[in-house]
Point group: C2
Chain length 413, copies 2
């Protein structure tokens, strides 16, 4: 039995330690860790080669994400330096006021404590997670995937060695080396020690955390983004925008998966957009009307409307009006990003107010939903839940608040 | 099988409806509901009498909380009017900025959607929950206890009749009338329809929600508040303050349950405080030193340090220094409210920084942790978790945020 209890206890102790580090100390540590990564590139690639040798050769895209080379390790180090250069989110007093009895009540931003991360293949998530959690003043416990275990062990050892060389405890970052599902599920139940669990990866992983975790979680990253083309849309803008949203990087969560077209413009717009999508190599699925007006379209099933393809596939539906578009989106969207193309002031407003998603767009590509693009700095992930953080999460998503009350002997009457 | 699926679907539909109501419409509804409660006092008390007749006569304090009379119903109506008079938390734009490419990115406060509440005896929680959820723009699904079921059915019917009389859908507030545990557990798994679940009641209820809920929850209300008397404390203030924190209302979560005393002042202070507590009718439990210095003290067990007594009981421990006090609190406290009494600037600062609780106090009674006292208006509860909301929760805890992006055809490069 893997000793998660011990890891949890250590992490809780480390939370008290990290909470007390000054920003300058945290930054020095992050810069030193970045340097250590670059000094140990050979060792990291050697371990990653073992993971690559064990990889299932049929999983091409997956293995590409697993693969490390000199350039990628340098990018990981650069990522840590970027986090070091960001403002420390903790310590800020959000407000402070005096009550009639002379008590001063304030609220300030403080670290969460212990952050648990559970994630899939990419080894860069290991260093990203550590740097973001640590910069926000937290200890962290990481559980990467079986496929990346050799890479992750070496990466965490390098971080821990660097911490130790600067006379800080190694346990500020801990890796769960047992990658079995049983241990993952047990990890999800360590709510006694871990304050928040962030699952990053497939919908299956996130669903498992929703089902099993007793630790509060932040759901991230599942996208099923819609673009609704209103009958008042500027159609000359619409084509390049939809092509951008669908094809610029189809494997990511903010790419467009569904297109809703107002019935009044369907006859005019459908042939143009289908031709353009088809020319861009996109497979089109569609409702009955769509199938009837353009060749080579596959009939969409009910499942299609829920599916995040993460691929060069799009499903198109004709809707009667704005209300039908909003209703469809609120039913089928994952609540990540949904856009309207319109020149109508009222329709733009109604769409923004009524679509219940983390990010709602008017006349822009869905691809912009991203922490860096929004100016939040390095991104922890994109939350599709409504509690704590919604949409792209910056460092503040890894903090909480605390009330402090300064008195001079006040008692309650 | 109770049809929770139907309730969930209706609630989700209602979330879209309530989201679109103007503040003035919401306020009119709340004022009308308050009036309906007062018009139907006889009917409410008649239903409550049935609950009282079914009540277990051995549970005195519990039954007192269950009991409704004219004055209490009027207080419930007044509570609704108070919520109606508070500012609407939704609609506020938290910030808005222009990106270099001309996109305007904003973040605004919006309703969560559907709030689930699961709670124990007090029938006033039914009207409080509805008014808070509704004012923040949410639909709600309520599940009260078996003991209050007759009262709750009548209360919700009055709210629904009032909604209907004003031509709004009854399903804006729904009550789960099946009070079985199985249905409660099934309710906790309705994450497809319910955005947040707030359990209010005993530690057992909250633990069950932590274990079973797939809906994100906000843990509320478990207290085990400490006061640490530093060796620099003004001891003349200390006695009335501790007596206030322990005895002013011992059954609530912000009353003091544990006293830590610096060893340097133990010999001097212990007899005074023990005498005062004992005179105030408080049962004292203590560590070895404490037991040795004052008669009639019961030895405290390890369990005592974790226990929220909610009664005229206190446990006292002698600690060697500030660090030991902080360590003890971070181990045993529920993270609700913990206080230091000190005249030392450094010790006050260190305590505030290092104690990991929702509210940390210097030289004031723990009894002040409360939404009204803190100036937040009517209180949803006191969160002892770190995600989303921490400490006393006002209406904003029942909201989330949404990014909105206004463009003119921008695509991502």
């Amino acid at each position: 039995m893997y000793d998660l209890e011990k890891i949890g206890k250590e992490a809780k102790k480390m939370a008290s330690y990290v909470r007390r580090l000054a920003s300058s100390e945290k930054n020095n540590i992050l810069f030193a860790c970045a340097e250590s990564l670059e000094e140990n590139i050979a060792q990291i690639i050697y371990a990653n080669d073992k993971d690559m040798a064990n990889a299932d050769p049929s999983r091409g895209a997956f293995n590409d994400r697993l693969k490390l080379n000199e350039q990628r390790v340098k990018a990981m180090a650069e990522g840590m330096r970027k986090v070091a250069r960001q403002d420390d989110p903790t310590g800020e007093t959000l407000y402070m006021k005096s009550l009639p009895n002379g008590l001063k009540v304030g609220e300030k931003r403080v670290p969460i404590g212990v952050v648990g991360m559970i994630y899939e293949a990419r080894p860069n998530v290991t260093t990203d997670s550590f740097s973001l959690c640590f910069k926000a003043g937290n200890a962290c416990v990481l559980r990467g995937s079986r496929e990346a275990i050799n890479s992750n062990i070496v990466l965490v050892k390098i971080l821990q060695d660097t911490l130790e060389s600067l006379e800080h405890p190694r346990e500020i970052v801990q890796l769960i080396e047992d990658t079995s599902r049983e241990t993952a599920r047990e990890f999800m139940r360590l709510n006694k020690y871990i304050d928040v669990l962030i699952p990053r990866g497939s919908a299956g992983l996130i669903q498992s955390a929703v089902e099993n975790s007793t630790i509060p979680i932040i759901e991230t990253g599942v996208g099923n983004c819609h673009i609704f083309v209103d009958d008042s849309a500027d159609l000359s803008n619409a084509v390049p925008l939809i092509i951008n949203a669908k094809t610029q990087r189809p494997s990511v969560c903010n790419s467009c998966e569904k297109l809703l077209i107002h019935i009044n413009i369907a006859e005019r717009f459908l042939p143009i957009i289908c031709r353009s999508l088809s020319d861009a190599g996109v497979e089109i699925r569609g409702d009955e009307t769509v199938c009837g007006t353009f060749e080579k379209i596959i009939p969409a099933t009910e499942d299609d409307w829920y599916t995040e393809y993460l691929d060069l596939i799009i499903a198109i539906k004709i809707v009667d009006n704005l209300e039908a578009a909003i209703e469809h989106i609120n039913e089928y969207s994952s609540g990540h990003t949904d856009a309207i193309l319109t020149e109508s002031y009222t329709n733009a407003n109604d769409f923004v107010e009524q679509v219940d998603s983390a990010a709602v767009f008017v006349n822009a590509s869905t691809r912009f939903t991203d922490g860096e693009e929004f100016g939040l700095g390095a991104e922890v992930g994109i939350s599709t839940q409504k509690l704590h953080a919604r949409g792209p999460m910056g460092l503040t998503a890894l903090t909480t608040t605390k009330f402090f009350v300064l008195g001079s002997g006040q008692i309650r009457k």
